[in-house]
């Protein structure tokens, strides 16, 4: 069952306009916060709501805001992460395109809570249209006096800027994003210092995902308890699941956390394309370990998915049917991570290259028996040992494909061809 909180109005073609947004109760939370709630109390409410980061790691948003030092003489910044580049994920785009004011309002409230007077939203460069919608919304908000100097006469100032990227998955990683926003190549930074202490321009900075922040206005309007009433004990609220791949009805579905994966794939997604057999599901974006059909009754919340060895990640659910070669799939992902490694740290830069080299050899029929060991050992030497989690993101899927579908890899090595021939919808002749 879909539970539309964020998506309540996304189907309204005029929702992106200020008037429509206001007619749907927009900017009430912002006004209330400015006039009635102290920044600390906002943080407290968000903590109480239990909302966790929607960018991938699932860190409680309120707690993160609380890390920003109050006594720092430096300016503070809020950065909204709209880089959305994890394969399988395309939820933030919908929010930015169809309900941009919700994102603006969420950013504004969050900025206020942490004491920031300049907020940025970093949108991947390819998202020209979503960025335009966000710019439009921000412009309208300035006109209405929701942004700018002395907002609604409260003395609080806030500037908001849309910043677009240039095609680099790594810029979704928060420290790389900050470097990119500073005009540098998007290479990640060592932590500590964490962004909350030394982030953008070496000042305290909070980085939150678009979807995370979009939740904030409703939390303020309807209260932390209301929000915490949705979802499971530790995974509160709803999430937008991006269902793609071999399903009949792919799309973005907003569901209460804890909804079984099967429901998403079979009931909402209409089942597997061409009524074939399900073979594998990636539950949380391409970097999360792959699941098999026997695991799809898992409730989709942070804890339950972790329990079966994968991650909820960014909720990009990628479905693969029986006619999908797993070696091919792993190779495709390995190529992606090699292409996207920033190159700063050794294990990620070289490990992703080596993994891809081994996999593409296996795929093209030149695999050798020891390759499987080498592949897994490369994963060992990457995971947990890179500068930022991109290394993990690259190694996890490779390891899980190689372990879960080991016989397919071995078949490939031995027979120099696929055990399962890819059979996908095709174009042209």
């Amino acid at each position: 069952m879909e539970l539309k909180v964020l998506f309540k109005y996304t189907d309204d073609p005029d929702q992106y306009k200020m008037d429509t947004y206001i007619s749907h109760g927009g900017y009430k939370a912002w006004e209330k916060v400015l006039k009635e709630i102290k920044p600390d109390e906002v943080i407290e409410i968000v903590k109480q709501s239990g909302v966790r980061g929607r960018g991938g790691a699932g860190f409680p948003a309120g707690v993160k805001w609380g890390f920003v030092p109050k006594d720092s003489p430096k300016p503070k910044y809020l950065v909204c992460n709209g880089d959305e580049s994890e394969p399988g994920t395309c939820k933030d785009r919908v929010l930015m395109e169809n309900d941009p004011h919700r994102v603006v309002e969420g950013m504004a409230i969050s900025s206020y809570a942490i004491g920031a007077h300049h907020a940025f939203i970093y949108i991947r460069g390819e998202f020209v249209f979503p960025a335009e919608r966000m710019r439009g919304a921000i412009e309208e908000a300035y006109e209405k006096g929701f942004l700018g100097k002395d907002i609604l006469g409260t003395g609080y100032d806030l500037e908001m800027t849309v910043h677009t990227g240039g095609g680099a998955y790594i810029c979704g990683e928060e420290t790389a994003l900050l470097n990119s926003l500073e005009g540098k190549p998007g290479m990640s930074r060592i932590r500590p210092p964490f962004p909350a202490i030394e982030g953008l321009y070496a000042s305290p900075t909070v980085v939150n995902n678009v979807e995370t922040l979009a939740n904030v206005p409703e939390i303020i309007n309807r209260g932390a308890d209301w929000y915490a009433g949705m979802g499971t004990e530790k995974s509160k609220g709803t999430r937008i699941f991006c269902l793609s791949g071999h399903v009949k009805k792919p799309g973005n579905y907003e569901l209460e956390l804890g909804t079984p994966l099967r429901h998403l794939i079979y009931d909402l997604g209409g089942g597997i394309l061409d009524d074939k057999e399900l073979k594998a599901v990636i539950p949380g974006g391409s970097s999360t370990p792959v699941l098999t059909p026997d695991q799809i009754d898992v409730p989709m919340d942070f804890e339950s998915v972790a329990e079966i060895g994968s991650m909820l990640g960014s909720c990009g659910v990628i479905v693969m049917h029986e006619d999908t070669c797993m070696v091919w799939a792993a190779t495709r992902l390995a190529y992606f991570y090699m292409h996207e490694s920033c190159g700063k740290c050794t294990p990620c830069r070289m490990g992703t290259q080596w993994m891809y080299q081994i996999l593409s050899r296996i795929e093209s029929g030149e695999g050798r028996p020891e390759d499987m060991d080498h592949l897994l050992s490369a994963c060992d030497n990457i995971e947990g040992q890179t500068l930022c989690p991109l290394g993990d993101a690259a190694a996890m899927p490779v390891r899980s494909f190689a372990k879960t579908f080991r016989e397919e890899f071995e078949y490939h090595i031995e027979h120099k061809k696929c055990m399962v021939q890819n059979s996908f919808p095709s174009f042209g002749q």
Partner: protein, 158 residues
């Protein structure tokens, strides 16, 4: 000068937005790309002059980001997603189809200078796969008929 007055004006307008000037690099590169369709060393030098920044910083940043072609491409820069979700729904055959229909290999530009086809990583539109981006616009849920129509329309526009 490669960058025209309007682009230069827009680039300069980004300066007051950011607390530090180096942040203007990516917006400037984007504006230059929108004007020229690609980037090159001369453009980096112009941008560094306009913003009074080091050329090395501009060039090094530009080279990191793969969205900007670093050499001239066709008027319509067709970027086909070949990542997993799109591939599962036939991106590879879409690419073959495009290449064949336009009579070019990947990365090449058609003789009339209209089209260049390249593959790109996930475009963030997985639920509407297969997807391609032409210049700034997304084309989703592609089918053969749609692709034919799109190309025809673009050809007509010239």
């Amino acid at each position: 000068m490669i960058l025209n007055d309007e682009t230069v004006k827009k680039i300069k307008a980004t300066v007051p937005i950011y607390p530090q000037r180096r942040s203007c690099i990516l917006p400037a590169l984007t504006l230059a790309y929108w004007q020229e369709g690609h980037l090159n060393d001369d453009i980096y030098r112009e941008i560094s002059d306009i913003l009074d920044l080091k050329t090395v910083d501009v060039a090094s940043a530009a080279s990191f980001y793969t969205m900007f072609p670093k050499a001239p491409v066709g008027k319509y820069y067709i970027q086909v997603c070949h990542n997993i979700s799109c591939a599962l729904l036939g991106a590879d055959s879409l690419i073959d189809y495009l290449a064949q229909k336009l009579g070019v290999k990947l990365g090449e530009t058609t003789e009339d200078g209209l089209f260049t086809v390249v593959t790109v990583e996930c475009l963030g539109s997985c639920t509407t796969a297969p997807v391609m981006q032409i210049n700034n616009d997304y084309y989703e849920n592609l089918t053969r008929e749609k692709v034919d129509q799109i190309l025809e329309d673009l050809r007509k526009q010239g």
